[in-house]
Symmetry: C2
Subunit: 217 residues, 2 copies
């Protein structure tokens, strides 16, 4: 009975790892679709988003079943509750990647990102993807120092976000109103994606035994 239980726990963790991999791939592909103005790739993200949402629901259902059937001890319960929250973060990360792709679809055939801002958006996209990769590894290795290791990248994302508005306003030739609106939203989507990777890393710390406040990030 306990062996089956531990298999279920391990399976639950594996699925979380799958979700983390999907979210990482999604942001990478969304950024590529955005910079390449690739409408087919952007549409592909919608299907991928559904896969992520479905897996998220399965993970959540598993978590509730595990708690109800197995009445887990404290440390396992922490893991499952943290897993429930992580599953929610990863689902949102998938949704944010999809929102980026939706902007590509909405503006096609016009590229959403003007030439002068390509490098900034590329940098935000790459940073978001690297943060997702680090979080996925931290989850796989149950690394309690994961959140701290994201600090430098999180600060870099904050700097990029703060710099974005002046860059948009200083563009030559000036951006259109539509471009300005899209860029403001894109900046917001990458920033939120990064926030979720930090929240995930903090939850990894929680499930390895960090103070209780960390649960509710």
């Amino acid at each position: 009975m306990r062996t089956a239980y531990h298999q279920e726990l391990a399976y639950f963790q594996d699925r979380l790892g799958d979700l983390a991999q999907l979210a990482e791939t999604a942001i990478q592909e969304a950024t590529k679709a955005l910079l390449d103005n690739d409408i087919e790739a952007a549409r592909g993200l919608t299907a991928q988003g559904e896969t992520i949402a479905r897996l998220h629901r399965l993970v959540d259902a598993d978590a509730v079943t595990l708690i109800a059937r197995q009445q887990p001890v404290a440390s396992d319960l922490r893991m499952i509750v943290a897993g429930l929250r992580m599953s929610g973060d990863l689902d949102r990360m998938g949704a944010l990647a999809r929102h980026i792709a939706e902007i590509v679809e909405r503006r096609h055939p016009t590229p959403a990102v003007p030439e002068a801002l390509r490098s900034t958006i590329a940098e935000m996209g790459e940073l978001a993807q690297r943060m997702a990769a680090k979080t996925r590894e931290a989850l796989a290795n149950q690394d309690p120092a994961a959140a701290r290791k994201l600090d430098a990248q999180d600060n870099a994302m904050d700097r990029l976000t703060t710099a974005l508005e002046p860059l948009i306003l200083a563009c030559e030739p000036p951006v259109t109103l539509t471009e300005a609106m899209d860029l403001a939203l894109l900046g917001r989507f990458y920033e939120r994606f990064a926030d979720h990777t930090v929240a995930l890393a903090t939850r990894v710390a929680y499930l390895t035994g960090a103070p209780q406040e960390d649960l509710s990030v």
Copy 2:
């Protein structure tokens, strides 16, 4: 023992209700601060946001303690897990109200919303607040039909969101790039706030016994 347990459960539910009340007040005050260009009120929202975040952490900690100590039966477990998710939604709703207030602070003394768009933004704000109020009532009354009752308002919010971009582009005199960016973000914040009220209402349905898929909205 069981009596103490049921008191704790009732207390947990009451705190969720408090959070729902705070989120509703926050969006109302944020919209007012935005339309009145009231910097003091906007700053007040930051303090209020901290109150919401703190209560959210308490609710989460209570939920984990309840599960660990009481090993609740299936229906109570559903309620507590749904409560954990609701607490997360309400915390995000508070954060979105704060983001609206931050735009007021960033642009002050210039009003963030140009005259021509005041009525649309006022309508979004009022709708968001009414949706929050309905969700709070549904939570208090454990109304399984809550999500359905939000349908009309959710559709109205979708229409307003879709209409916003053409309205921004058609403004006379034309909006500035900064105004366009702020308005795009404001539209997004109200839309997300409304999404969370729908998610909350769906969780109320779940905890009263609706199908399991509803958990993971």
